[in-house]
């Protein structure tokens, strides 16, 4: 069912791209309730979802549908009220706060609608932030940061202040930052929402290219049908449940 090639290269290692045998992320009967008592709001009402290794998936829904909540739970930014999230066969509810932090730091990359760049810091410092959090030394950080920027063809801006870049350049920096820790999944929340059509298309190309060539999973939250249609699978969320699933017609 997957149009991907058999082998993908990730962080220099060859990894077997297995089919849905053991999903990277597996969600079952996921509930998330905000608040309690009469004012409680049930954002997710028992949702099941498997995401295979190397897959790109779009989560689509209106605001308030629960799509962002789902992404936050998948990205281990929040804990579900009930239900389980398995990452690589490990039940994430058993992980300690420290292990969750480490997992997010080493396995996930984040691209948000807003750039969340430190305007005064240099582009390089912004890009290497995940490595700094991971405790990588300065020299190693710089080398990897330049390499990540080179992949996105903005290494000439490494010394610039983040504030001096255009919107498209900023989003490239954000992608470089999401890539620098060699993640297995990139979570993108409306990655093109703040960009004009042309720039947005370039950023999309970059993301899907990473997915295709390096086998990095993409989890895209969007209400842009055009962006969603480029993903392997589309999940439509309505009122906390999956309303429809669509696989790409190869």
């Amino acid at each position: 069912m997957s149009p991907r090639v058999g082998h993908v290269i990730t962080s220099g290692n060859t990894r077997e791209a297995a089919d849905v045998v053991s999903p990277l992320l597996s969600v079952s009967n996921l509930h998330k309730t905000y608040g309690s008592g009469p004012s409680a709001f049930e954002a997710l009402k028992g949702l099941d979802l498997d995401i295979a290794e190397g897959e790109s998936i779009a989560i689509i829904g209106k605001s308030g549908s629960g799509k962002s909540t789902l992404m936050h739970l998948l990205a281990l930014l929040d804990r579900p009220t009930s239900g389980s999230i398995m990452l690589d066969g490990t039940d994430t509810s058993r992980l300690s706060a420290k292990q969750l932090n480490q997992t997010r730091n080493s396995a996930f990359g984040f691209v948000f609608q807003q750039f969340f760049l430190n305007a005064q810091a240099s582009v390089l410092d912004n890009v290497t932030l995940p490595l700094k959090i991971a405790g990588v030394g300065r020299r190693e950080r710089t080398a990897q940061g330049i390499a990540a920027l080179a992949q996105l063809e903005i290494d000439d801006k490494a010394g610039n202040r983040a504030n001096d870049l255009s919107g498209g350049q900023k989003q490239r920096v954000v992608i470089a930052r999401a890539l620098i820790n060699q993640p297995r999944v990139i979570f993108a929340d409306e990655p093109t929402g703040n960009l004009d059509t042309a720039t947005g298309a370039v950023v999309e190309d970059i993301l899907f290219d990473l997915n295709r060539r390096r086998g990095i999973n993409l989890v895209v939250v969007t209400h842009d049908e055009e962006l969603a249609s480029r993903c392997d699978r589309r999940i439509y969320i309505r009122d906390g449940l999956i309303a429809a699933r669509e696989a790409v017609a190869a």
């Binding site: 990205a75 420290k98 405790g135």
Partner: protein
Amino acid sequence: MRGVDVLSTAFKNAFRSRLRTSLTVLAIFIGAFTLSLTNGLGTGINQYIDDTVASVGVDDVMTVTKASEEEPTDGPAEYDPNQIAADGAPGATATALTDDDIDTIAGIDGVESVEPSKSVMVDYVRHDDGTRYQLSVAEFVPGMRIELVSGEQVDLDASDPELVLPESYVEPLDLGSAADAVGQTVVLAVTDATGEQVTTEATVVGVAEPGVLTMGGAVPNDVLAAELYDLQTTGAPEAETTRYAEASVSFDTSGGATQTEALQDRLADAGFTGSTLEDQLGTITAVIDGIVLVLNGFAVIALVAAGIGIVNTLFMAVQERTREVGLMKAMGLSSGRVFSLFSIEAVVIGLVGSALGVLGAVGAGQLVNGVSGDLLADLPGLTLIAFDPVGVATVVLGVMAIAFLAGTLPALRAARQDPISSLRYE
């Protein structure tokens, strides 16, 4: 995140909003500056007193008075025929020592010798029928060494009356230079008990620098002191001549402080109060320490206000960086590290402010010392504001501790932030 990265990030963050940080640093600067200066004042004055005591080197003599038998009461004090005026505040009295008391003291274990001090009121001093000047005669403590401009110390065993004259008398008495004054003879006058003014002569053996101990008075040797006392008490009833305000007791210092204390205890048991020069100066030191403490209190109030400034500054920083904190937490930064980032930022602000404050105080101290050298010329060797490394380090570390405490509140808020709502924060 590595410790060194936490440090450097916190340091950079502290100066991201330069104006705001500078103003907070300024507030801390003022507090640290004041605290260092008041501390320096205490250190300077106490150092001067210590140095003075050291140069005098009288550590084997204590002043003994008769302990007051009655506790002070609110009502009028009962008349005590043995009471005489004592040094100190006007109206202060002490119970006089009699010859019997002197014998008792001499008999106490550990007392090597006892000498009743004979207070003398000199009417005037005069040289060569010139102008007559008032002169006070300083309390003479055996073993005392006076800072001299010229000449030498009075000779204890000399059979001729000698005295050391303060430098300020040399010119008015027409003695020429300080060196010329040595060896000349001056006339001293006292009024005896019958009201008659009598004079005696004494040789100037030394000229004294102004100092704390002599208080601008002349220092006689034993012979002169005895002679003046005899002249003064001529015609007085015997009961009057054998009453002394205090006595000087020589003792062996080889036993150290414990032996000295034991001797003081024995004196106390016999009904006397013995105090060494160090004790007496210790009182002055204690008073100065008290004053400095009060001044420090004001400086600490300024520092507490500055600490609240830090709280405010950091709360604003946390607010500003809500999304950044959210992002870093999403990327796996632990709450503990977030707390460290903000609390170290507070400590950095405290460190910069206090370091500048201490430096400023040292600079201001140099200026003040330059000026006070001219204004307080009577106290040579006085460094009005002195800094000791321990005091300076205490101020800097104390301010950093205050800054850390001030930073905990905002740092806790940042550490507790939920990454999701932080990222949504507009």
